[in-house]
Point group: C3
Chain length 205, copies 3
């Protein structure tokens, strides 16, 4: 019979699951933002709301960790995981904001490839959070995120090479480079979340 | 009657206060650097001296933490706070250096808005450091830094949109973008310091 | 008679030495990549192999830390050191990749100065790793890395000023700036490794 020796505040798991779920929403909005004929103002507005809700969840985790005596894992790891998930949302929000503000004329198709990587990362991260309870079957998750991050890295450099090829005007290159870097940072932030989960699992095992 | 159960080396608090005070000086020099008709060479020289003094304080904290048996809070948190304050100074110094070296022709007024945010961050950080002793009344400090960082973030993206609007030549955009990013990094570094203080306060409470 | 009170898995020291040795190889390849008349495709291919081998060493350290009961120092510090060394390799690999992909016409001589700094950092890091066993004579190492990082920082800003001087076309500036930043990140990553070693030494002393 398996049981836990520590009475823990179960809602931490629910909050992390909610936090990752916001990322699935954000990644979807990012994809909408890139779609041809998108109402960029409207999508950016919904993104701001999603980001605000994600913030609320992060604050709820921090409040709870400060007022709870027994936490399911180390306080520092809870902070690291909560702020790691929050960072992803911030980078997705940044990308949406940049697309809106910079009034980019034409967005190269390669950017959609990166957003698909982000959507996949969001989905497997959301699927992994409930497994924190048992700390089981998480290995596949962080291996897959690392694989996606490597693929994203290759696409990232290929996009930059294309931007620098002479096909685009210098100002357009600057705008697109900023957006592509925000996407890259979002993917890196997913990897950091996965690394945090790995370290928590190692400690608790 | 309130008293401390732990005999601690009180000078850590003084050193953190001194470290944050260097940031007030640095932020002032940054503002001078942007002023019209500034003697940029002279201001940059004073900035280098301020940065050097800040370095000395950081090293003094590290030396002391290595030679002291009982520290007021965790050694790792002392390192994190000391290096966090040091990072702010480095980014302010970087901005000053860039303004000098890149020989920027015209600095858009929006940059002064960012430097004002930096000056406010420096002042409330300096005011917060002495409160580490009692760990009281710090909440307002980190809420305010977070608010300032959010405001700074919005200004940052607005400045970039302006730089990319076609009003500036590509090379000027590149120079100004570097400077604006250094200011942004300084503000982010202030937020990181506030987060470290928050975590210390949570642990010690 | 000096002896250790803790039976430890000695191979951690060997693995860190191997990890740093990969950096010496990587720094050498970086220098080859900049040499006039270099077969960039061939050098980049060897860099990918070196990076792959470095990855293997990092994974071996992580596997071992997860399966070993007594580690020579804190698990978290082992992770930090392993991933810090890995980060250096990633930045060197990134620089090589950028030189290949961006098809940079002419590489300014100043970049070789930065690569020499990287080579020196790699050599003294590799020389320092075996000293982790005794934790002796490490002070000189981290002071020297900090000195090199400061020198590299000055060169970095001078190169940027040159890139922004009007001598280069905007697109070439963008390409070269990316490469110079990757070199700068590699040097910063060496400094971070040195800081981690310093913190480990302080804890263990």
């Amino acid at each position: 019979m398996a049981f836990s020796f520590r009475p823990v505040d179960a809602t931490f798991y629910d909050l992390f699951a909610a936090s990752a779920q916001h990322l699935v929403v954000g990644a979807g909005l990012l994809a909408e933002m890139l779609a041809e004929g998108a109402d960029r103002d409207a999508v950016a507005q919904r993104m701001r709301e999603a980001e605000h809700q994600a913030d609320e969840t992060t604050h709820e985790i921090v409040r709870r960790v400060n007022s709870t005596f027994v936490t399911p894992f180390d306080r520092e790891d809870i902070y690291a995981l909560a702020s790691g998930l929050d960072d992803v949302m911030d980078f997705m929000d940044e990308a949406v904001d940049e697309i809106l503000l910079y009034e980019v004329a034409e967005i190269p198709a390669e950017l959609s490839t990166q957003v698909e990587v982000i959507q996949q990362c969001a989905e497997i991260t959301a699927a992994a959070m409930p497994k924190l309870r048992s700390m089981k079957d998480l290995t596949e998750y962080w291996i897959e995120v690392n694989r996606l991050e490597n693929a994203g890295d290759k696409t990232f450099r290929r996009i930059l090479a294309k931007l620098f090829s002479g096909e685009f005007k210098a100002l357009e290159v600057l705008k697109l480079k900023d957006i592509v870097e925000s996407l890259e940072h979002a993917i890196d932030a997913f990897e950091k979340v996965a690394n945090t989960v790995e370290q928590i699992a190692v400690k608790e095992s």
